[in-house]
Symmetry: C7
Subunit: 99 residues, 7 copies
């Protein structure tokens, strides 16, 4: 995966590569049910500069490229790269947990 070629998400957006349910995480292993409505596991591919606050300043995101994350299944927008890679762009607030 050529992360640097994906592009730069804006502000608090994050590009995530959805992972198969049997993906192992660093510590315990999270295995989302096959049931609908369950959150999904993915790997962060690219992150924006940070969230734009009402004050006009920007706070950096907590997640970074390479992090495995749990996120809400129906969050964000899907798109496909020329290599056929299916990616997802979501807001950091739709990420539930860093695994």
């Amino acid at each position: 995966m050529k992360n640097q070629s994906i592009g730069k998400p804006l502000y608090d957006r994050v590009v995530v590569k959805p992972l198969e349910a049997d993906t192992k995480t660093k510590g315990g292993i999270l295995l989302p049910d096959t049931a609908k409505e369950k959150p999904q596991i993915g790997e962060v591919v690219a992150v924006g500069e940070g969230k734009l606050l009402d004050s006009g300043s920007v706070v950096p995101l907590k997640v970074k490229a390479g992090d495995k994350v749990l996120y809400g299944k129906y969050s964000g927008n899907e798109f496909t790269t020329k290599d056929g890679e299916e990616l997802l762009i979501i807001k950091e607030e739709d990420i539930l947990m860093i695994l």
Copy 2:
């Protein structure tokens, strides 16, 4: 339960392990009705760093791992660990009370 292996919830999110209705709390004993819509008892397994404020600062959460809590039944996202443990990730604002 290997709490440290669950992962790190983001911001004001909290991982809760739902407990059986007959679980005893430290002081009095809360026994939610079996009726629908009633709040549930659970044990906090992991907590985020704190709530992100409009000012960009983060306020630490009041709940901590190990706390028994009462929370709204339909809050949050369920997921299952490889060990078959059913957990829930909710926002601290969906927790009603520390038991």
Copy 3:
């Protein structure tokens, strides 16, 4: 009623014990109609530390344990203690008046 054993409501939440309609208040006596949609009388059993403001500070609540209060009938979440006591947890903003 063992108030200290009920647990600690979070932030601006308040535990209320609903009272019968014929309960006497300190001064005048409020007797809600039996009609639906009418507010109810209850006694405050436990209160949270205070409301979390956007600034991150916490303002203490106006109500305290022992206060008799008028509150909206359909506010909050009901739960039952092991002693069979039916309690309600609401936000202070759902309390209309201290009696």
Copy 4:
């Protein structure tokens, strides 16, 4: 009417006693139509300490006990005192005008 015995409304809430449509006001006389959806006239019986601002401070209300006011007909919660007096508890923002 024993105002001091009614209780203390919280924050920006106000207890109002609805008045008959032929009630005279200090100056001109407002006579709401009998048509539905029209505002109503009432007398303020008790007021809260003031509105809680985002900053945590409280601004005192403009209305005070004894004021005759025009308010939206479907605002607030009705309740009845033991003396059979029908009162209404509304937020000050639902009061349109001091008569």
Copy 5:
């Protein structure tokens, strides 16, 4: 019309007397269509002290008694004085233009 006897609107509320569609304004003449949904012309009869800001301070209104104004037809609450005068109470933000 006895404006001083109408009463005092609260905060950013304004009492308006609806005018006939052929009313002349100071400069050009605005003649709303008879079609529904069109704004209406009225004369300001009384104004509140000003809009209550989140900071707790109050900003005086731009409109004043005597102003002819254009306002949204379905804004506000109608009421009738004893003299049979039909008036309307709206928020200043529902006034589109001073004529």
Copy 6:
């Protein structure tokens, strides 16, 4: 068109005269489709003093009388002057672009 006689829009409101689709703009020429839902071209006739901020201060508008603008077709309120001129009053935030 007697702009000075139209009246003064309040705060961030702007009076716009809709232009025919073949109107030429200063530079390139924008020709909205005849299709529904497309934005429209108009000329600004009068502008308010500025947008009222939460802080109570007012920021002047970016558009001024004489500007040709693109705006959302279904924004605002239409009205007709005595001269039969059809005008529209919208908020500046409904203006998409200065042409």
Copy 7:
């Protein structure tokens, strides 16, 4: 394309020229699916001065003319120039990523 003749978007609005799905981006190549609901690729043609904050100040946008961007398919307002060019005007917050 005569960008300087398109006009000036207001505040945080951006004019985008939709690109065909086979457009190459600087690094990797993003090829949105033909499926509905997928985001689209476009080139930024003109940008506003910046987002108006609650404080009254304006923060410049991150995107600039010439950027290739990924944006939500159903965002914004379409319009057509006299040259038959189909353009779109969206808010910067509807842009997901700079490619």
